[in-house]
Symmetry: C2
Subunit: 229 residues, 2 copies
DNA sequence: CATGTGCGGAATGTTGACATTCGGACATCA
DNA sequence: TGATGTCCGAATGTCAACATTCCGCACATG
């Protein structure tokens, strides 16, 4: 990292819509609006102290992220978490991660590798310190964010953002119910990805990235199946 | 297809925003707003006879499709077509087509195969009849739409829609400049995909789908390179 | 009893007015 | 002369009122 590595990064204003979207997203992740809950524009506008127009913009953004779904004159509600949904999201994610790994494999530099290394270390120490599942998840997502950034493909990043929130929501419910499983493989799998990335073994990295996602899918589906019985 | 194959499809209302989005998209494809052009909300609102709010919604939708890009208080403009953009879009598309082909390979039924067969036949006759490039393109896209539909993955479909308009715009400029190249491989490549799909050879189908996209990318890049010199 | 019909309330969809921001033209000063 | 500071017009961002649509429920009807 240079002296101003990311100190001079962004100074852009974003508008109330985006701000509102962040608040509502956090509320969903925080359990204020559980899966299936209805999001009423007037309520949100009153609570956030912005106009309905801005709330509308926020909900449109969240719909793009797949976190909510709305229908004509029928309101907006938080998505549900069926096994079919998990399969869909993780199938797309696997395809994207494969591409991200392949592209990143050709373009990584020392800076990105160092950042990834730091993240894995953070995971390790957070794990030993008995950190909350949501903190581990944030590091997990940050790791993959970094890889997508290294891929240097704006459209790929957009596609990732269209599933990222759903992945986060899914994993959050998983961790909330049984995180021993998650903790057991977190550091190991990411360390493997990092090693392959560093070694420049792109073909095996692509396979590992895909398998990493499918592994998460299988564990999630298993947990959901256990919950329904 | 059943008797009401697609006669009972959709009866949903969509709102002025979506309607406006369709008009503006067509205008972009029609060359009214060439790449790089500025889209002013007041102009569009006046032209379409809707409020600026609806235009805003339409522009947000088009931004999600990647056709336009907007910045805070700085307006909205049609995307440009650099070689880097083409590489990005087609890299993502290749990853998506690979997944779509794999999923579709497991789920296609006779109805879908028949529909695809019809589309290839239409391509063939349109080609012999000397149809316009844009018509051939519509059939091309329809073919791939059908495959994505057969994959039965809503998130995958959304991801496809996030690049489809850009693909269409790119191909449109290509066909407008030199369509002999395009015409020469159109039917052949799609017939090959259909054959592999029918044969149930999913691994080779996935490879072919990826190669089909990369072939299109190479031809496009070559054309852009020739145009700049 | 099942089906169709017509309110009524509550939510979303739409609009035009008002506030804010951006970028460039012009003036100012070393 | 070139860099900096300051206005101004034009566009976008935000808002609150108005219009439209949906859904549930009661009631009529066969």
């Amino acid at each position: 990292m240079t002296a101003f590595g990311n100190a001079l990064r962004k100074a852009e204003r974003r508008g109330l819509g985006q701000e509102a979207a962040d608040r509502i997203r956090d509320a969903i992740f925080g359990g204020v609006f559980p899966p299936g809950a209805v999001l009423r524009e007037v309520e949100l506008a009153a609570g956030l102290e912005v106009s309905r127009g801005s709330v509308r913009e926020a909900l449109a953004q969240l719909e793009q992220e797949g976190l909510v779904r709305s229908a004509w004159h029928r309101g907006t509600r938080v998505i549900d978490l069926s096994v079919a949904d998990v399969d869909e999201v993780y199938a797309v994610r696997a395809a994207l991660e494969r591409l991200a790994a392949t592209s990143a494999g050709r373009r990584v530099d020392g800076e990105a590798l160092a950042a990834l290394e730091d993240l894995v270390s953070e995971m390790d120490s957070a794990l030993r310190a008995g950190a909350a599942g949501s903190d581990l998840l944030a590091l997990d997502i940050a790791f993959h964010d970094r890889i997508y950034a290294a891929a240097g493909n704006r459209r790929l990043l957009d596609a990732w953002h269209a599933v990222r929130s759903q992945v986060y929501l899914f994993q959050l419910t998983r961790v909330a119910r049984d995180d021993a499983d998650y903790r057991s493989i977190l550091v190991e799998e990411h360390r493997e990805l990092l090693a392959l990335l560093r070694a420049g073994d792109t073909p095996r990295l692509a396979e590992a990235a895909e398998e990493h996602v499918d592994s998460a899918r299988r564990r999630l589906v298993r947990m959901l199946a256990a919950a329904e019985s």
